[in-house]
């Protein structure tokens, strides 16, 4: 006698931003097994990078892998090509790149937090965070001319300079954001209904985090010290006050706290950058065609992003391999779902902050 229900979540579902398909097999509402399908957004960018676009345009194409971490994608690609071309970019360009990277992280984390809240049925919090997120969007728009797809990074540097007016605005807005985020911190730790929804739900133990190779906030919430910003040296993260944020419970709440702490850290970094921005050019022309292979990793908002680029000295590349954080975490996701309640599934899913367009490329 079958007693299980199959509950689909996706591909179109109001709690999802992107098409992904989970099929939960549930006893009552308890999930006993999960079936996932993540390939809805596959567009074939990896191949297009080697057949359709020249290497200098790819920076803009890979940005369209994902709108949320567009900057990380173009940055990783650019860094890989710069590695192949040799040559050094100016310090100011590096700082500006970090600035945008961290701004992107702030807005992406805020989106994730608000979305988690909405999926937990807390509409007011969603509206609140989304409203405050506009502050970040505003400075991003000032800085790059667009709210989402920045197209800011170019091989050899960045596209736009920052002027003192914008710098002032950034400092102001970030201060404001910081105050608001302090408020969220209070809400996430003290709200009774949120703790029913978040505490102890969707937990990943440290050992599982190791064996599933979890990365990003997912891993850091379980106490696994992995943050690529700590492991690379092409950008001077350590100079400007980067600190790893970890929690130990591994549940939704821990992930949220990690994200909130990272927002604080990112705000600090941004302020440091704007205050101590070195003088200099923002763009250095790099000559030549990429030749050889390079692996570049960056910390995207969701974790480690890896680019493998192989060129053969012509304008067309031989291979661009994008390994995105969500992609690597999918096995961990399905593992976490088992044993949870279906009523929690949307919130758990949102707390992973999955990005399927990154996953499927």
């Amino acid at each position: 006698m079958k007693k299980t229900i199959n509950i689909p979540l996706g591909s179109q579902h109001i709690s999802l931003l992107e098409p992904v398909r989970f099929k939960f097999e549930c006893e009552n509402e308890k999930i006993i097994s999960v079936d996932s399908d993540v390939g809805f957004v596959h567009r074939g960018i990896e191949r297009a990078c080697t057949t359709k676009f020249k290497f200098d345009a790819i920076g803009y194409v890979v940005a369209r892998v994902c709108g949320l971490c567009a900057i990380t994608h173009s940055l990783s690609y650019t860094a890989a090509v710069e590695k192949l071309l040799g040559g050094e970019i100016t310090k100011k360009a590096k700082y500006l790149r970090i600035l945008l990277l961290e701004l992107d992280r702030i807005h992406s984390h805020m989106l994730c937090l608000s979305h988690t809240c909405e999926n937990a049925g807390f509409e007011a919090m969603f509206m609140r965070i989304m409203g405050d997120r506009e502050l970040v969007m505003e400075i991003q728009e000032l800085l790059t001319g667009n709210r989402v797809q920045f197209d800011y990074i170019n091989i050899g540097g960045v596209n736009r300079d920052i002027n003192s007016e914008v710098a002032k605005k950034i400092i102001e807005n970030l201060y404001e954001v910081k105050q608001r985020v302090l408020g969220y911190m209070d809400e996430f730790t003290n709200n009774w209904s949120l703790s029913l929804k978040f505490k102890g739900i969707g937990a990943l133990s440290l050992d599982d985090a190791y064996s599933f190779n979890a990365i990003g906030p997912l891993a850091r919430a379980s106490g696994l010290n992995i943050d690529v910003r700590n492991e690379i040296d092409y950008l001077p993260f350590n100079e400007i006050g980067f600190k790893m944020q970890t929690q130990f419970e591994g549940d939704i709440n821990a992930r949220n706290i990690v994200r909130l702490n990272e927002i604080f850290n990112s705000i600090l970094m941004c302020e440091n950058i704007v205050n101590g921005l070195p003088e200099g050019e923002i763009f250095t022309k790099l000559k030549g065609k990429p030749n050889g292979e390079a692996i570049v990793r960056f910390e995207a908002p969701r974790g480690e992003l890896m680019y493998y680029v192989k060129g053969n000295g012509s304008a067309m590349l031989e291979r661009v391999r994008i390994k995105t954080p969500t992609f690597a975490c999918i096995p961990a996701f399905t593992h976490i779902f088992v044993g949870e309640n279906y009523a929690d599934a949307p919130a758990i899913l949102a707390s992973f902050d999955p990005c399927l367009s990154c996953t499927a490329k």
Binding site: V38, G39, H42, G44, E46, R47, Y210, S211, F212, N213, I215, L224, N225, I226, N230, E231, I232, D233, E293, A294, I295, R297, E304, M306, Y308, K310, E318, R319, R321, K323, F327, A328, C329, I330, P331, A332, H335, A360
Partner: protein
């Protein structure tokens, strides 16, 4: 980036002896189309909390070869394996097709001989 060449038969043993799940983490499985119907498979690892220590195990294979699965050692490899099956049309132990591609889309797009 350190590249270590392995053969398909020995790759499981090499990885087993090298991989400590608390020290290393598996980045991804990468494929690369080479000339004359061959491809290169790379298993990429990186070390936790070390400055850019990336180790790449690679093997050159034919498209008809069967790549051994490492999903029992590294559960997260399963998804990369499915991807490489989809993208290159090679066979990986225990990984079926259909992560991204439908029946009627172009098959094995990244291999030299997409259809």
């Amino acid at each position: 980036m350190k590249k270590i060449k392995v053969s398909l038969e020995s790759v499981r043993e090499e990885i087993e002896s090298f991989y400590d799940y608390k020290k290393w983490h598996f980045l991804t499985l990468n494929g690369l189309a080479l000339a004359d119907n061959r491809m290169e498979v790379q298993w990429i690892f990186s070390k936790y909390e070390a400055l850019d220590e990336v180790v790449v195990y690679y093997a050159e294979i034919e498209y008809t070869d069967i790549i051994p699965s490492i999903a029992d050692m590294i559960p997260s490899a399963i998804i990369s394996q499915r991807e490489i099956v989809d993208m290159f049309g090679v066979k990986v132990d225990g990984s079926e097709k259909g992560l991204y591609l439908d029946e009627d889309s172009i098959q094995r797009p990244l291999s030299g001989c997409a259809i």
